[in-house]
Symmetry: C2
Subunit: 427 residues, 2 copies
C-alpha cells in the first residue's frame, strides 16, 4: 500500500487567454479564459489540478490551498484518502469537490511516480482488492456491489479520438472550413460542432461540416457505431427540456451521432425525456462533464437518460470516483466517451480511458475520447495523437506536470502574458 | 423596483459549541459545532448568511467575502440579482451556491427593510409580475411556466411546527424522556427522532417516543395528515437504497409519518424506490434540506420520490430559488415542510412557509415546519412559538440579525467562548 506525506505545497493561478481567438466559445460562453489552478506537492511529487471554464475557477487555487492546509498534517494512506478527504470537507458537489479532485489527482500522480509507471499502467496492474478499495460504494450499492468489479484483458492500443477544435461557436464559416479540411487531411473523421445559440446559424454550420466530412461513409478503421464519419453536436446546457427536443429535431437531418449537454447537468429525468424523443431520430444523448458525483451518473444510467457517458478527469473526485463510474457504465452497457480539451484534461483523461478499455469495457464499439488541440505545449508530457488516436503515455505518473516556464508566463495577474493583456485592457 | 448599493461589507466566523451537550448528533455526525458565517452589508442594511453542519462551513465566510468583492462594484437590481450572481460565480451547487445564498439572503433582508416590512409580508404584497421576475425558470419550464405561478388567499396564521430538540442521537434515554415530557406539557404533539446508526438502539428509542406521545390519537388541532400525534424519523443520509427500505420496514411498527434523508440527497431515483417500498407501509419519504438547486427538486417531484418536501432557507439560492420550489410543490400537490434548526434557520424559513401558506398552498394539510430550540437568544428578532406554532414575525426584514454581543463572544477563534474552549482542549 502506497503511503506518503505532503511536506510542502504551493498553489498558483495560471490562465491562458484563449478567447482572444474565439477558441472555446459555445452557446453559453462567448468569452472565457482557460483557467488552471496549478498545484505543487513538494518532496514526494507534484501534480496539477482541477479545471473548468467558469469565472468561478479563479477561486479554486485558494480553496485548494485551504483544503491542503487541513489535510497536510495527516498521513496519506492511499487509496482511501478519497473517502477521508470528502468526509472531511463536505458536500460531494460544487467547487470544493473540484478542489478535492485536484488534490487527489496530484496524489494519484505521485503514487504512479512512486511506482515508476504511467497512471493507466498502475491501474491496470493493480490487484483487484486494492482497486476496489479505491472506490467509495456508499449510495451506489443498488446498482453496483464489489462483486461486479473486474475484467482482465490487457492490450495496448491507440485510443480513438474525436476533435472539437474545428467548430467552436465563435468561428467564422471560413475558419471552420479551413480547420475541417486540415483535420480531414490529418486523418480525423469524427467532428464536434457547438450549437444552441441560434437555430439558423446551427443549420448552416452543421450542413457545412456534414458536407465537408461526407455522408455516412463506411470506414473500416472507424470506431463509430455505424462505422461512419460522424458529427457530434454540443449545446453546453443551453436549453430547457422541450426546447432541446424541438431544436434537435430540426438538426436531425445532419445526422448527428449525439447531442451533448442539451440541458442542466443535474436533470436526470430531463435527459431521459430528451433521449426518449431523440433516439428514434438516430440521435443519442451525451452528458457527464459537469455531473458532480457518482450518484448523478448512477441515475443517468438507471433512467436510460444517456447513450454516451462523458467522464471528466478533474470534476469527479479524481481517479477514485471515476473508477466507480467506469464500472457502472460497464454494468449498464453504456460506452464511456470522455470529456477533454481545455488545459490538461486530455493529458489526464487518456489514462482513464485506456484503463477502461484494457480492464473494464474491453471494447472500442461506440467509443472515442474528445480531443482539443490547444495548450498541450505547456505540459512536460503532452498527449501524443497519431491517426486521430491517443497513443498510451509511457512516462511515470498522471501526465499532469506543466513546464515551469509556461506557469511563470501565465500566472495571473503577474505573469508576462497577463501583464501585457491587462495593461492593454486599461488603455 | 428596489435598488441599492453595497457600500461596505464584513464577514465573521461565528461558532457555537453545541456538541458539548450532544445537541445535533445524528447517524452521520456525532460531534459538530454549529457554524455561522455572519455577513454584514453596510449602509444599506445588514443580514446574515448560510449555515450548514459540515466542517467545510469554516470556509464559507471567506468565500462569501471573495464573492462580495466581485459583486460589490455592481449595482444591485432586485430581484434579478439572483440570476446575475449565479451566472457570475458558477455551478449551481456546492459551497459557492451556499455562499451566494448567504449574500442574497442579506440582500432580501435589506429589501424588506427598505420597504419596512417583514420578508413574508413583502412577498405576500408583491405584485405577481415582480414575484415572477424573482424566479429563474431556466431548466424547469418542463414542469413550471410563468402562467402557473399565483394564488391569492391572504390570512394571518400561526404556522404549525414540530420539534427535533427531544431526540438527538447522542441523548441518553433519560434525557430523551425528560425532554419529551416537557415538550408534551408545552403543547408539542409532533416529534422527530434521529435514527440510522444502530437498529436495536433505534427500535428502543422510537418505542420510547411512541409510548410517550401515545398511539394515533385524533387531535382536532393537529395539522398532521391523520390528525394524530406523530413521530418522524431522520437518517441523515446514512443508508444505501436497499438498506433504507430494509431498516425502515423494521421501524414501521412505530408508525413514523416520514423517514427523512434516507440516502444521498442527489439520488432522485433512489428516493423514488424507497418511497415506492415504504408508502404502502404508511411511511412517507421527506427530503430537501441538502438538495442543491431547483433542478433536483423538480425531479424529486416528477419521480414521485418524496411525500414531504423540505426546503432550506440557506442552501438554495435564497428567497428567489425557494420561490420556484414552492411553486413546483404546489403544482405537484406535495406539502412543503421546511427544514429548520441550527443557527438562524428557523428565523429565516418561517417567512417562506408563512408566505407559502398565504399565497401558494393556502393549506395546512400535511404541513408543518421543523423547530429546534437552540440558539434563538442570539438573534435580535428570535422566532416566537406559541402552542407549537410559529407566530408570524412583525419586524421589518428577514429576521437575520444577530446580537452584536453574541457575535463577539462566538467569533472563531478569538471570541471568549472559543478562547476558553480551545485553551481547555490544549490542556
Amino acid at each position: 500500500m502506497a503511503r506518503g506525506r505532503i511536506s510542502r505545497l504551493s498553489v498558483r493561478d495560471v490562465r491562458f487567454p484563449t478567447s482572444l481567438g474565439g477558441h472555446g466559445s459555445d452557446a453559453m460562453v462567448s468569452l472565457s479564459w482557460l483557467f488552471l489552478g496549478f498545484l505543487h506537492l513538494h518532496l514526494v511529487g507534484m501534480g496539477h489540478l482541477s479545471f473548468s471554464i467558469q469565472t468561478l475557477t479563479t477561486r479554486l487555487p485558494m480553496l485548494s490551498w485551504r483544503l491542503m492546509q487541513e489535510m497536510d498534517s495527516r498521513d496519506m494512506e492511499l487509496p482511501s484518502l478519497w473517502e477521508k478527504a470528502l468526509k472531511l470537507i463536505g458536500p460531494e458537489k460544487g467547487v470544493v469537490h473540484l478542489a478535492t479532485a485536484a488534490i487527489l489527482n496530484a496524489v494519484w500522480d505521485l503514487w504512479a511516480k512512486q511506482e515508476g509507471k504511467p497512471l493507466w499502467k498502475l491501474l491496470v496492474d493493480m490487484d483487484p482488492r486494492t482497486l476496489l478499495s479505491c472506490i467509495d460504494f456508499r449510495y451506489i450499492t443498488d446498482v453496483l456491489t464489489e462483486e461486479d468489479a473486474y475484467e482482465e484483458q490487457m492490450l495496448m492500443h491507440g485510443y480513438p479520438a474525436y476533435t472539437t477544435s474545428c467548430a467552436w461557436l465563435g468561428y467564422s464559416d471560413d475558419t471552420l472550413k479551413q480547420l475541417c479540411a486540415a483535420a480531414l487531411k490529418d486523418g480525423w473523421t469524427r467532428f464536434k460542432v457547438k450549437v444552441g445559440a441560434d437555430l439558423q446559424d446551427d443549420m448552416r454550420r452543421c450542413r457545412l461540416i456534414r458536407d465537408m466530412i461526407g455522408p455516412e461513409k463506411t470506414l473500416a478503421a472507424c470506431a463509430c457505431p455505424q462505422k461512419r464519419k460522424c458529427q457530434m453536436m454540443d449545446a453546453n446546457q443551453r436549453w430547457d427540456v422541450p426546447e432541446a427536443v424541438e431544436w434537435m429535431s430540426k438538426l436531425a437531418e445532419f445526422k448527428p451521432l449525439w447531442i451533448e449537454e442539451p440541458t442542466s447537468p443535474d436533470d436526470i429525468l430531463g435527459h431521459a425525456t430528451i433521449s426518449k424523443a431523440l433516439v428514434p431520430l438516430g440521435i443519442g444523448v451525451a452528458t457527464g462533464e459537469q455531473c458532480h458525483n457518482r450518484v448523478i451518473f448512477k441515475q443517468l444510467l438507471q433512467a436510460n437518460a444517456l447513450q454516451f457517458l462523458q467522464i471528466d478527469s478533474c470534476r469527479l473526485g479524481s481517479v477514485n470516483e471515476n473508477l466507480s463510474v467506469l464500472l457502472m457504465a460497464k454494468k449498464f452497457g453504456i460506452p464511456v466517451c470522455p470529456h477533454a480539451g481545455g488545459v490538461g484534461l486530455c493529458e489526464l483523461v487518456q489514462h482513464l480511458i485506456i484503463f477502461d478499455y484494457i480492464s473494464v469495457s474491453t471494447s472500442l464499439k461506440n467509443r472515442m475520447c474528445e480531443y482539443v488541440d490547444h495548450l498541450h505545449e505547456h505540459f512536460k508530457y503532452p498527449v501524443v495523437i497519431k491517426q486521430a488516436s491517443y497513443m498510451p503515455p509511457k512516462d511515470a505518473g498522471y501526465s499532469t506536470e506543466m513546464k515551469e516556464d509556461s506557469v511563470r508566463k501565465h500566472q495571473y495577474p503577474d505573469g508576462d502574458v497577463w501583464k501585457k493583456l491587462l495593461a492593454a485592457q486599461e488603455n
